[in-house]
Subunit: 112 residues, 2 copies
Amino acid sequence: MRSGCRPLIEDKWSLHVISMLDAGPRRFSELKRGLDGVSQRMLTVTLRNLERDGILVRTVLEVMPPHVEYQLTEMGVALHEAVKPMIAWGRENVAEVERSRAAYDTRTVAER
Amino acid sequence: MRSGCRPLIEDKWSLHVISMLDAGPRRFSELKRGLDGVSQRMLTVTLRNLERDGILVRTVLEVMPPHVEYQLTEMGVALHEAVKPMIAWGRENVAEVERSRAAYDTRTVAER
C-alpha cells in the first residue's frame, strides 16, 4: 500500500483519471473508454488507490439500473490544479526531451 | 528506456534530485549524502535518465583532483518551477491523505 503523498502521482494512470474527473463525475465504463490502453484491473486499482487517498469518492446511485460514479473531492480538485503546470511543462517540452534523448543515445553509442 | 514526458517524474528520486540541483550544481557525493536512502545504483540511473531527458548536464571538471558536477538545464529549472505547486500540495495534504487512508482501511476491513 502507498505511504506519503508523492506516490499519488507515481503510477501512470492517476493523473489521467484526475484530469478526466475534473470535468465532472464519471462512471467506470466512461473512464475505461476515455483512458486509452488502461486495463480493467489497472483502472480498478487506480480508482481504489485514489479513493483510499481521499482524492475521489465512489458513490453507488440507487437508480434503475443502479450504477457507481466517481467524483473528485475538494482535495482532488486542488491536486488537479497543482499538477496542471507540470502537465503543461510536459506538453511544451516533449519535443525537446525527445531530441535530447536521441542525441544522448547517439553520443553514448559512439562512446562505446 | 523512458518515452513521453510523464515518466520523468514517475520514479521516486527524480523530483528529489531536481529540487536539490535547483540550489546549484552538485557532485555525485553531495547528492548521495543529501538523498536519504538512495542507493549508489539508483542515483546513477536517475542522474543518467535526467541527463538523457535534457533536465541536467553532467560536466567533468579538469581540476586537481578532477571531478564531475551535475547542473540543471534551463528546461530542468522550468520543470522544477512546474512541480513546485504539486510538491506544496503534497506537504499541505499529507495529513489529510493519511487520515483518509486510515478511514478507508478501517471501513474495508469492517466490510469483509
